[in-house]
Structures are given as C-alpha cells and as structure tokens.
Amino acid sequence: MDSVPSTDRGGIGYLPSAAETLMKLVVTGPFGVGKTTLIRTLSEIPTLHTEEAMTQSSTGLDDTAGLPEKTTTTVAVDFGRLTVQDDLVLYMFGTPGQERFFPLWEDIARGALGALVIVDTRRLEDSFAVMDMVEEQGLPYAVAVNRFPDAPAHADEVLRKHLDLDPRTPLVQCDARERRGSIDALIALAEHALTCLPAPQESS
C-alpha cells in the first residue's frame, strides 16, 4: 500500500491533514454477500461501524384509517476509508440492501459517487430489490459479482441476462478478499459514474 495514514495513539486513523477532499460510495447487497469483506480488503483503517437508529412506519403507506405504528430499529453500518491520492480520500459505506432500510440508505447515499451492488451467483434473486432501490435513488451503480469459492462460475453475459442489467451498467467479477479485483470494481463504478455526469463544458 502506498498511502498509509499517520499511525497514532490508540490505533485511531486520523486524517493525514484536514485539507483532503472526501468522497464516498455505498457498498450494498443482501446480508452475507461480502460487503464488509470488500470494505475490509480496501480500507486503510480497521473497519468501523456506527449504530444507526431508524424510525419506520410499520403500516402501509396509504393506511389513513388508524394511527401509523412507528417502530425504531437499530442497524449497524460498516465503513472504511481509502486514500487514493494524497489529497483525495474515499469512504466506503456498507449499507444493508433491504427495502425497510431505505430512509437510512437515502441519508447515507446523499452526495455519494455511486453504489457498488455486490451479488452472489447462488442467490441472484436476492439482489433484485437492492438494484431496484439503487435505481430509484438515481445513483450510478456497478455490479460486482463476489466469486465465492463454492459458487458456480458463470459468463458475464449469462449473469447480465439473469440480472436484467442495462447494457451500460458495468459488471465485474471479483473476489472480495482480494485487493486488485476489488479495486477494479471501484474503477468500473467510477468510470460509469463519470459517464453519468454532464459532458465537459466547451471552454468559452
């Protein structure tokens, strides 16, 4: 690793300077798909987590008959940090893909570069809801297929068809435990995010 954060007391990875530009992306997908693994592979600090309280209505949206029942649940959000250049730091937030976490998701995704949706070939259908959610959010996303050792391998085209992916949406296959492939997944997402931004202005 080239950029190692200043080591400091207590193992808290302080920012090397207070002047960096900080970007973030969301790593999402169903439980157990490898979100935290990928973040751990790439993060220069030990992965951290916050407990986020979420208030949600447990009744249907159009239910006007009774008082809405509100419940509060707590969900852990893992995150890590990667210094990509001296003055540019990328934060990766692992957010659960379930629809009921949508408000939290929105909050974390605001201002994000995009989302990396991690899928497991043994249960592709578990990722459909996440992909719908990301699309609804209007966030650029790329799909990273986490190649579990015991999962069957499939050609990209087969996976794209099963996931009903837009031809422009990148799909990469990687092992979330390996740095190089995980970085490739981030590159695919960043390249795609770039194409989603307005075209460069002609200098006038």
């Binding site: 080239d2 193992g11 808290i12 207070a18 990509v84 201002g111």
Partner: protein
Amino acid sequence: MTPGPGRRLIPAYLVTGGRSAPTGPALDRLAVLLRTDSALGPETGSEQRRLCELLEPGALTVVECAAHLELPVSATVFLATDLVAAGHLHARPPIPSAGEIDRSLVERLLVGLRSLH
C-alpha cells in the same frame, strides 16, 4: 478490531439535551472536525469533552467520531454542532471548494484508483 469497552452510560437522547434538532445547519456525516485551541470550560458536558479529547491529536470525520465514541451519527452531529458554535471545534465540509461531485473530481479519483493497482 475489538469493539470499545462496553456500552456508553448515557443514553443518546440525553446527549442531545432533549432537543430534536441541532442549533444551526446539520453537519454532513463526512464533515471534517478539528479541535481548536480554545480551552474547555466547566460548562462542557462529559460527552462533548470526550469528543474534544478524541480530536485532540488530529482531524476526523463526524462518522468516524461517532464510531469511536459509540454514539449514533445523529447524536454526534448534535455534540459537534454545539462545540462548533462554542468555538471548541472547527468543521469543514467534505468537498471543500465546489460542494458537489464534478468530472474533475471523479477523474482524479480514477487516476488515484488506477495507481493503487
């Protein structure tokens, strides 16, 4: 990494002093917090003091502070907002100049990511 030593003793709703909205504009979870050199007075609460102590050696984002202090992000925003108002902390938005993601930023990110290979 092992989690910190047990749960905090003060519930989150007390950290906020019972208010439901912070005084001033809400801080981004990636806002960078820095300790200023202003001395803490006796009015500084224990949770505010913990946050200042955490930031004594260097800068961290709101969300990293929340994780290290084992507080919800929302409660950490409360603490930080008050400490900024009192002059004990300085807060800076994550993207200092333009305020949003633009092409040059993503291009810099790509150059950086490719160099990590």
